[in-house]
Amino acid sequence: MSIVLRGGRIIDADGERTLDVEIGDDGRIAAVGTGLSGDLDLDASSCVVSPGFVDLHAHLREPGQEEAETIETGARGGSLGGYTALVAMPNTDPTTDCVAVVEQVRALGRRSTCEIVPSAAMTVDRAGTDMAPMGELVDTGVGIFTDDGTGLQDPRLMRRVMEYSTGLTRRLGRPVVLAQHCEVSALSVGGYMHEGEWSSRLGIPGQPAEAEELMVMRDIALVRLTGAHMHFQHLSTASSVAMVRGAKAAGLPVTAEATTHHFTLTDAACASYDPVFKVHPPLRTDVDLAAVRAGLADGTIDAVATDHAPHAPHTKERTFDEAPPGMLGLETAFSLTLGESGLDLPEVLAVLSWRPAAIAGIADRHGASVVPGAPANLCVVDPDETWAVSGATMASRSSNTPYEGRTLRGRVRHTICAGEPVVIDGEARR
């Protein structure tokens, strides 16, 4: 079945033009031009046609926590959010730290509506003591390693993982990316929100910004020592952003992401005591929020990621300390980035699509320019349509969105993944 996206404004890394896009039944773009026709005609007028979005940071919970999310439901939410590729975090049960689990995730992913790109743990069971079989994993195509959820605490082991990863470049065909959740647990332990004015007033034990910053500082030093490619996950503090800016200026091979919640929400939200606002790293201050936006504006932060972290409703009906950290993100990321990041539309698409695609090592098929022959991973977004956020109606098995009830501007109209129209007129097709 061929598809035509009609009358949209195409924006990709090459620039902007208003043309129809024809997608062939081989899953590739057949033609870009005027007056094209196909079996399925999808209206893209008043919309923008973009390369599909790529999330560097999604918790899809499968295997192990299927009550909260599955690869199928997570991918469906991703499709509704304009994503065509999701990097799946390895904090599954069992941990994605070996070829068997990676292949399980891939197999489940092949039946879903996004390309699922498994990342694998840097250390066995994310325990931070023994290196995971990185070579075996690289040989199956894994290019991102992370112990996300915790940082790798031991500086000696971190150094060795970095060194080891640099020896795998030829086997992968590109540098291995090590993605760090920067948090020195000795400083953050027992803290459930950002430590500061609000935590002091609310009586919720806090964790200081320095818990994140010390690990950013350590890892930049170790990148200088080893030459490994380090990707800093969910930067949340002003000093973290400044240190990454400095590392980039020094020519070090580092990249960084920020989540939508770290440039839209602050620790003041915790005054409700609702753990829907509990997340790691925690929501920070106005100053940090502004620094994250500035980091996006000047390219210090390469990509917007979701850190989509579904949790079953009853787990958020606990007290602030006992509830698990994390919030949904896949269906709100585009609207929030468009409305609140301060970036203009082409930059919004860049930080959601082709920049993260390059970090994930999938730029050959995601985030690619809209030209004949390119794989048809595309989304069509209406920058002006408004919609009301409702956790209950999201595709996720969970409903822990911190934006419940908010009206957002900018909505995904159609999503095409590998040539298949997985979202049409804002509705998931399967």
Partner: protein, 305 residues
């Protein structure tokens, strides 16, 4: 709470204090009402105080107690609260080791919710009884200079007392080692001192907080001995207080740590008065929430909010 709110409760407390002095200290004001104490943290005193207050108002009482987490049973907090409420409780008196719990519970139930202490956040009825005690001794709190000494960082009593004392016109000085203060005090209407001795001669009241041994393993103080030496209210320090100064403590005390036995027994100590007033204040709070606000002595049980 604003000053008028506080004053309304303190004035109502006078009535209940009077009832407490009667030969039969009981009125039928809340007959047919049920007050449930829901304690997720060990507490003998606060529970007994609320229980006594409810019984003196002729309310039925229910008690739920779980050591620490309900998670161990796999039940969410909300499940627990809904079960207790389904026994017909009109008011839930909640004590929990985590901040914000009473606030959250209030959103899940139609019953009135009283915060009997939430983690390191607040302990509002303690602050009310402290204010009542100070007012009874001094007539008014306006202009008093009050030092709160000890583990402010982890103290719900300190947070509530700062708000209540300053709302009623007192000057509050927080006295603690730097590690036992909250990480940020922006917006708090207080001054801070790290030494107690220079302040003693010019205080109207000194409020001592309970020091816990865990603070040593947490690396917050070197030893109980050093803490007691620097911040403990000894007989010597009591002697340097003005003759009409008051000594308060939320109890239970650690004799020889934050307060010596001699200091606790000094005539300036009003620690036992605090316990007595706790019942009266909690009667006032329960009555305001569950009673009609009228016909106190005739057992009107209608209305309420």
């Amino acid at each position: 709470m604003t000053r008028p709110d506080l004053e309304e409760i303190l004035e109502l407390t006078d009535t209940f204090a009077e009832i407490g002095r009667r030969p039969i200290p009981k009125v039928p004001a809340l007959r047919g009402r049920t007050v449930a104490t829901v304690f997720f943290e060990n507490s003998t005193r606060t529970r007994m105080s609320f229980d006594t207050a409810a019984r003196r108002l002729s309310a039925d009482t229910l008690a739920f107690a779980a050591g620490g987490s309900s998670l161990s049973k796999g039940e969410s907090l909300r499940d627990t609260v809904e079960v207790v409420a389904s026994y017909g409780a009109d008011a839930l008196v909640i004590r929990h080791p985590m901040a914000g719990t009473a606030h959250r519970v209030a959103g899940w139930t139609e019953a009135s919710v009283v915060n009997a202490g939430d983690g390191c956040h607040e302990h509002p009825t303690q602050a009310l009884l402290d204010c009542y005690t100070l007012r009874e001794q001094r007539g008014a709190i306006d202009g008093m200079r009050i030092a709160i000494v000890g583990d402010i960082r982890h103290s719900r009593v300190a947070r509530s007392d700062v708000l209540a004392f300053t709302a009623l016109g007192a000057e509050v000085i927080l006295v603690a080692p730097a590690t036992l203060l909250p990480p940020a005090l922006d917006g708090w209407p207080v001054t801070v001192a790290h030494e107690l001795d220079p302040l003693l001669g010019d205080l109207d009241a000194v409020y001592l907080l309970r020091m816990q041994r865990e603070r040593i393993t947490e690396g917050l103080i070197p030893s109980i001995r050093e803490y007691a030496t620097d911040f403990g209210l000894t007989a010597d320090r009591v002697a340097r207080l003005p003759a009409d100064a008051l000594v308060l403590h939320p109890g239970p005390t650690n004799p020889g740590v934050e307060i010596s036995a001699a200091a606790a027994a000094d005539t300036r100590s009003v620690i036992l008065d605090q316990v007595v007033h706790g019942v009266s204040v909690r009667m006032a709070v329960l009555f305001l929430l569950l009673g009609s606000g009228r016909n106190l002595n005739r057992g009107d049980t209608g209305g309420g909010d």
